[in-house]
Amino acid sequence: MYNIQTQFDPRELDFQAQNELISIIPNFESKQLKFIQGTFGPFIPSVPCNVPLWMALSLKKQQKCQIKPPLWLDVQKLTHKLKEENENEQITTIHKHFMEISLQLLTYASDDLQNPEEIRSLIEDIWNIRLSKIRKSYSAIQTEAYAIEANNFTKMEIEMIKPFFTTIMKVFDKFSTKLQVRLEEQESNEIEPNYSEYENEFENENQNQNEIENENQNQFENENQNQNEIENENNNNNNQIENEIENQNQNQIENENENQPIKRKLRRFTSDTKK
């Protein structure tokens, strides 16, 4: 009946970004002005001073000032950033309102920027690379993850992934708790566990739980694992020897982990680079 929107729309994000301070060079003279947010000024012609972005934009529209773009909004810095973004597997640190501020400045104060066209295309490139990294890292959502760490995300990126991630993680969480209950029940009844139907989706969950597994099941599981890890599709035959070795290794690991309670881990938000 009541669906509460937990997402901010782009205009609300712009609103939040407009509280960031920015440097302007006024062309009028005025003493300190007292605002609710604080006092700004004094304004002396051609002496830079810091004001919130909304104030800068309003003055700019009335041609009362020149906006000094932030240090990172510059062809050289952005080229460097693009290179850094290209070289790094994970998304890099960036201003939390990167997109909002740069787009507003490009729209309303492009004459204060050097090479606005070049800056625009650089910003687009950086944005696209970051988005593609984020898309690749959807694999971070797994049943054993109780949380996803999303460092370096800008506000806008968080807003973009939030609806999808929060929903899907809730579903995964429900399933993993259900599975946990079922596994415990089966263990207490000392019945040979039979949940091969779940294995595809929840193999990680199962790994440590399974004390006695018959070899067929083991092999089946390992095949799945290898497929995920190496992502070769048609080499079941070649992998058989490796499977056997891994079987042994895994049995050892299982024995070591036998008595430890299973704790779900925190997943870091990384892009999948195994390819």
Binding site: M1, Y2, I4, Q5, T6, F8, E12, F15, Q16, Q18, N19, F28, S30, L33, K34, F35, I36, Q37, G38, W54, M55, S58, L59, Q62, K64, Y146, A147, I148, E149, A150, N151, N152, F153, K155, I158, I161, K162, F165, T166, T167, M169, K170, D173, K174, Q180, P261, I262, K263, R264, K265, L266
Partner: protein, 193 residues
């Protein structure tokens, strides 16, 4: 003074959390006070005719921005109050989180809903008692939320027993189940995003 950043944080927290937070009365009253003061100040300046119009424009822009913030905060609370109205009526603990006006609103709203449902079809049903008990909307603490750590928290023991303990470092962003971090948000050690 951190009035406006605090109000903004309260707005964002309120928007993202599945439950209703305690009403921040001092914050809202103080903002209202400041707005009134500033408005009379502008009026004074206008009548004196000394301040250039573009500066008056700046003052007015700020007032509009803060009003927008304040309204958004109050409006998102009203939406939640509507959603959980029958829950609030039955639970005095949640009632203490509301402001006086909000409480008056929820009583009226609840009566309207009940009357409406009664008139339209409930009076024709035999077992209407159960109907309401089954239909009460509860805040869902199992929701996942995005949040940021505001100060270092060491050796976090999460609500869910099967989670690995961890240190939470300042500035980190997480997407995590609300239940596990609820206490930190209420203690202002974390904020929602």
């Amino acid at each position: 003074m951190n009035l406006i950043p605090d109000l903004e944080k309260a707005w964002i927290n309120e928007k993202n959390s599945p439950e209703i937070f305690p009403f921040n009365e001092t914050l809202v009253n103080e903002t209202q006070n400041q707005l009134n003061k500033q408005e009379s100040f502008i009026f004074q300046q206008q009548s004196q005719n000394q301040t250039p119009t573009f500066i008056l424009n700046l003052y007015e822009t700020e007032i509009e921005r803060i009003k927008f913030l304040l309204r958004s905060y109050l409006r998102i609370r009203l939406r939640k109050i509507e959603k959980f109205s029958s829950n609030i009526i039955n639970d005095s603990q949640i009632q203490s989180l509301l402001s006086e006006k909000e409480f008056q609103f929820v009583q009226k709203f609840h009566n309207l809903i009940i009357n409406h449902l009664d008139e339209s079809f409930l009076s024709k049903l035999k077992r209407k008692k159960n109907f309401f008990q089954n239909k009460i909307d509860q805040p869902d603490f199992e929701e996942f939320v995005a949040c940021q750590v505001l100060e270092d928290i060491e050796n976090v023991q999460f609500e869910d027993q099967d989670l690995e303990d961890d240190d939470l470092k300042e500035g980190k962003l997480f997407i995590i189940k609300y239940k596990n971090i609820r206490s930190f948000v209420l203690e202002d050690k974390m904020k929602l995003l």
